[in-house]
């Protein structure tokens, strides 16, 4: 028999995820590590980590990591990449870190066309602190700080980062993917790989927004949460590649 699946080499040995049951962070980290293994960049990768559930990445990934103040991961990644241009630099952030607290740093890194990779997990809420209303909370979604649901008058509209970044000249690749099913997981891995390849070819910033679940704060079972991703979330956050300046891209 032939082995067709194994734990990626760039996952720390004997590390066990500390995320809630059914949390998609685990799948996203595995895909990231598989891409790092396939591109052979483990020894020259540096990750700027964020604040939020995504911060636990450095407990599980066997690459060098630098901790950034809340939202400033892309600012730190800029400094690391400019000091060490031969390194592969990436960030792994949540939607609150990337699109709210760190919105200025995130957008300006794209304006400057930094040659780094940014991954943003969008679970429509602040997961670590108890499920508060965030920039990507969907219209009508009930959270602990929007008990009557998000409405236009009081909270405004959700931030759609993949579309926003696609409009910026310095952004070379922008895509939105999901982790709710096998086809979407396969597409997510391809998108993450492309976001690293545009950095390696020096074109510009590679960005992937990953739709993920937060079963604990959504008060759903893991499978119900995945159904919500494929029925509700994709209506607000359509999947697809919004910009691809790489060879053969659109």
């Amino acid at each position: 028999m032939q082995q067709v699946f194994s734990i990626p080499k760039s996952i720390k040995k004997d590390s066990k995820y500390t995320f809630c049951p059914g949390c998609d962070h685990g799948i996203a980290i595995r895909l990231l590590c598989e891409v790092i293994d396939e591109l052979g960049i483990q020894d020259k990768s540096i990750c700027a980590t964020s604040i939020g559930c995504s911060v636990f990445l450095y407990d599980f990934i066997d690459v060098d990591c630098i901790e950034a103040p809340h939202g400033r991961a892309l600012a730190e990644a800029t400094g690391v990449k400019r000091a060490c241009p031969d390194k592969v630099v990436f960030t792994y952030q949540g939607d609150g870190d990337f699109a709210s607290i760190g919105l200025a740093e995130s957008m300006h890194a794209a304006f400057r066309g930094e040659r780094v990779t940014a991954l943003m997990l969008n679970n429509t809420t602040y997961g670590m602190t108890g499920g508060q209303h965030g920039p990507t909370t969907m219209m009508g979604q009930i959270t602990t700080t929007s008990p009557t649901g998000r409405n236009r008058d009081y909270y405004g509209y959700p931030a759609k980062m993949a579309e926003q970044l696609a409009l910026i000249d310095g952004c070379a690749y922008s895509a939105r993917v999901a982790l709710d099913s096998i086809p979407h997981i396969n597409e997510a891995k391809n998108a993450i790989k492309k976001a690293f390849q545009v950095q390696l070819s020096g074109i510009g910033l590679g960005f992937v927004e990953i739709l993920s679940t937060c079963p604990t704060n959504w008060k759903m079972t893991p499978e119900e949460a995945h159904v919500r991703v494929r029925t509700d979330m994709v209506k607000t956050f359509p999947l697809g590649v919004f910009k691809d300046l790489s060879e053969g891209g659109k």
């Binding site: 032939q2 067709v4 699946f5 066990k16 685990g26 995945h226």
Partner: protein, 69 residues
């Protein structure tokens, strides 16, 4: 014919794998692991597993550590 290896110390009983397996070969177990979670177990007495690895790809905790085909 295929087979999978489950590391029950990683399993947090989200049961995504039981919904995913196209052959329904992964089932909830009555046993608990060190976290107190009801584990899952792989039963393939008739050699039905096709080694598609869908369970491993959807497991959020990498509790399915190996898939063979």
């Amino acid at each position: 014919m295929g087979k999978i290896v489950i590391d029950n110390s990683r399993c947090k009983s989200c049961y995504i794998c039981t919904e995913t397996c196209p052959k329904n070969l992964i089932k909830k177990s009555n046993k608990t692991n060190r976290l107190g979670d009801y584990m899952v177990e792989f039963e393939d007495s008739r050699g039905e597993c096709i080694g598609c690895a869908m369970c491993a790809k959807r497991c959020p905790d990498m509790a399915i550590t190996e898939v063979w085909r």
